[in-house]
């Protein structure tokens, strides 16, 4: 393979195939004097799975938290399904309803049962009647494999089960894109697989996903593209096979040598 060819391949991989669902253009983000995101340009196409990796503090989480406005970006534009993120709270809420998010610490509501956790948003936001919302919630619980836990409280569940409930909770709003912020990092090793299985199934079902993760196996298996970030910048983008077997940048090689 010549340098030219790999360069070409690399250039292609930076762009989503087909229609873009999420587009970030020249996005900057500051925490005080510290620049967390520098000049981010990225897009995610429909039904595409993008995995974001990188050392800690590289801005991966900040990046996806900007997409649903849990963090406010300072410069640049973010488009989600054609809607541009602005100060307008209605606009923000509209985008949040289209994007589901799964957190590292699950962030389930501990005072509500599993079923209520899932049914809360459909009932409150979409005004679904109780029985309808609960029926959907049960279906989702079946999909993530734990319908028998419906009436329990999150505190009674294992970490892996909690994270699966969190995924079901996000899915209940029927989002167009799912954001995963290190969904398996807080889990004991034996529980990681059950969560990844659900995520793989989601990806295979055609869900658009952006995952911040350290699970390289997952990235290899389902990612359409891998984005490598360091120091708030996107260093390299590529298909998994290209990325893991033939990284271009020194920074990427260093990182991969440390984790693989």
């Amino acid at each position: 393979m010549t340098t030219d060819q790999t360069g070409q391949q690399f250039a292609d991989a930076t762009q989503a195939k087909g229609e873009a669902l999420i587009e970030l253009t020249d996005v900057d983000k500051f925490f005080g004097d510290f620049q967390a995101l520098k000049d981010i340009n990225m897009n995610v196409g429909k039904q595409e799975v993008v995995v974001v990796i990188g050392p800690s503090g590289s801005g991966k989480s900040t990046l996806i938290r900007c997409i649903n406005r849990l963090e406010k970006h300072d410069r640049g534009t973010i488009l989600v399904d054609g809607i541009e993120l602005s100060e307008d709270i209605r606009n923000i809420q509209e985008i949040r309803r289209e994007t589901g998010m799964v957190f590292q610490q699950f962030n389930l509501f501990p005072h509500l049962t599993v079923l209520d956790n899932i049914a809360l948003a459909p009932r409150q936001v979409r005004r679904e009647p109780k029985d309808e919302a609960e029926k959907t919630a049960m279906e989702l619980l079946e999909r993530v494999g734990i319908p028998e836990q419906a009436r329990k409280y999150p505190g009674q569940l294992s970490g892996g089960q909690q994270q699966r409930v969190a995924i079901a909770r996000s899915l209940a709003m029927k989002p167009k894109v799912m954001l995963f912020d290190e969904p398996t990092s807080a889990l004991d090793p034996e529980m990681i697989k059950e969560v990844l299985d659900v995520m793989v199934e989601l990806a295979e079902g055609g869900m658009t996903m952006i995952c911040v993760t350290h699970e390289m196996g997952f990235a290899r298996a389902v990612a359409d593209r891998v984005v490598f970030m360091a120091d708030g910048q996107i260093v390299e983008v590529g298909t998994p096979e290209h990325f893991f077997t033939n990284p271009q940048e020194e920074r990427t090689k260093l990182f991969l040598s440390q984790i693989l």
Binding site: N107, H111, Q124, R151, R169
Partner: protein, 473 residues
């Protein structure tokens, strides 16, 4: 009463039975200096206990309490209207019974749903929490029998009636699940009715029941078949308005005046004033806490100034100010009784502290909870109401009950501004010829026991509540 407990998984460790000698050796003489402390302290403590018991059972001149028992309980409440007090006790007992039964049933349901082990509350359980109050009531009965107050109705009968009413009410736990809200509604309605049995059902008294039943009507009227959101809101409001108007009309038709709280005194006044101040201070404090965290600067500054000013001023100052200053702040010609002014001052005072307690609870909540709500697209008020507040308030129950207890005890300050509450009754008693300078310590001990009985029961109840809510945390 019921509690949720975590399923027991481990077996208990073997218990080593200690005999008395081992116990003494282990606890009183574990080493030479502890032994020395025991040798010095034990006689002193025993002597003090002896003196205390002697005071209680031999030397104490309890006539001052016995003769004036009715005065302590109801103060200068008109004696020919006493049936109102008895009706109030019975109604409240029924209300508490229904409330406890409903709470117990919903705890049971939740435990069953979550397949948690569920321990049915036993009588011993209730006794453990309520023993201070029960002991106080027994003490009252003992005093009541040693000196006949000439009351037409035996105090025993009243206590028996109250226990019976409470027991009957407690059977609300057998109500099917869909009627659970009815239990709560009934509790609230009976509390208001119990209050108004004394204060009277005059035409102006429709407001509390109007609010309660109006909001009940607002939420139960079936609106599912209406498509439009506005139409649904309209129907709900119309239903609420109809209920409120009916209640207004009923009160207008009855229009019987009772004995307003300006004429209450003794323990009766203490309990009612504290309860009203607590009920009013809680929502006010909640609003202040939310205002203090608001993004609107004006709201935030106003709330902060209010809280800091009130917290920097002793309650007694506020009570005095209430007597003089509230007059300037209400429209001219408005007559406010001393008790009303005192309630306003106590509410204003407690609200500032409750606001700070609630704020602490809000701050302690991990930010991930709000973020999860935001990520789901919930509106900020919904996040507050459904996610933040339920958790924050649960976390501050102990601090909040502590504040309620101190508000209850602080009501004794009303005595300084000339209102005859529980402690203030002593002034009347010792102004009597027979008790001038007689039994001063005895009446004081009695009053102290009374406050303690209620405060201790409140504290125990809060511990139980805490335990029960821990599971779903």
């Amino acid at each position: 009463m019921t509690t949720l407990i975590e399923p027991e998984t481990t077996s208990a460790p073997p218990i080593h039975e200690r005999n008395a000698w081992e116990w003494i050796k282990h606890n009183l003489f574990p080493n030479w200096w502890s032994g020395l402390v025991t040798i010095v302290l034990l006689p002193i403590l025993l002597y003090m206990a002896y003196r205390a018991l002697r005071f209680f059972f031999v030397t104490g001149q309890w006539e001052a309490v016995e003769v004036n028992l009715a005065l302590f309980m109801q103060g200068t409440f008109p004696r020919d209207e006493q049936w109102r007090l008895i009706a109030q006790i019975l109604t409240f007992a029924l209300a508490f019974g229904i409330g406890a039964g409903t709470a117990s049933a919903s705890a049971r349901d939740r435990a069953e749903d979550a397949s948690l082990a569920h321990e049915r509350g036993s009588l011993t359980d209730t006794l453990k929490r309520m023993w201070s109050m029960i002991a106080f009531i027994v003490l009252l009965l003992v005093f009541a029998t040693t000196h006949d107050p000439g009351s037409p109705i035996s105090p025993f009968l009243v206590v028996f009636g109250a226990v019976l009413a409470g027991y009957v009410g407690y059977q609300a736990r057998r109500l099917p699940r869909r009627l659970r809200n009815l239990g709560w509604l009934l509790t609230l309605v009976l509390l208001v009715v119990g209050f108004q049995v004394v204060s009277g059902f005059d035409s102006g008294g429709w407001l509390p029941l109007g609010i309660i039943l109006g909001s009940a009507a607002y939420s139960v009227v079936p609106v599912e078949r209406f498509e439009s959101r506005w139409l649904r809101l309209l129907v709900r409001l119309a239903a609420a308005a109809v209920v409120v108007l009916v209640i207004r009309a009923v009160y207008g038709a009855i229009d019987s005046t009772g004995i307003g709280w300006d004429e209450w005194s003794g323990l009766h006044l203490t309990l009612l004033v504290s309860a009203i101040a607590i009920v009013l201070a809680f929502p006010l404090g909640l609003l202040l806490a939310l205002a203090r965290r608001s993004t609107l600067p004006a709201l935030r500054y106003m709330s902060t100034v209010y809280i800091e000013v009130i917290r920097g001023v002793p309650l007694i100052t506020l009570l005095f100010m209430g007597q003089f200053i509230i007059g300037f702040m209400v429209p001219a010609g408005t007559e406010l009784s001393d008790v009303t002014r005192a309630i306003v001052a106590m509410t204003a005072f407690a609200a500032a502290y409750i606001a700070e307690i609630v704020r602490g609870g809000l701050q302690a909540l991990p930010s991930g909870q709000t973020e999860a709500g935001q990520a789901l697209g919930l509106a900020p008020p919904t996040i507050m109401r459904r996610i933040v507040l339920p958790q924050a308030l649960r976390a501050v129950i102990p601090a909040m009950v502590g504040q309620f207890i101190s508000l209850f005890k602080d009501s004794s300050l009303l005595f300084i501004i000339g209102i005859v509450e529980f402690l203030g009754v002593r002034r009347i008693i010792h102004a009597q010829e027979a008790f001038r300078g007689v039994g001063i310590a005895e009446t004081l001990v009695f009053v102290a026991l009374g406050y303690w009985a209620f405060a201790f029961a409140m504290s125990r109840e809060s511990q139980r509540l805490e335990r029960r809510l821990r599971v779903s945390r």
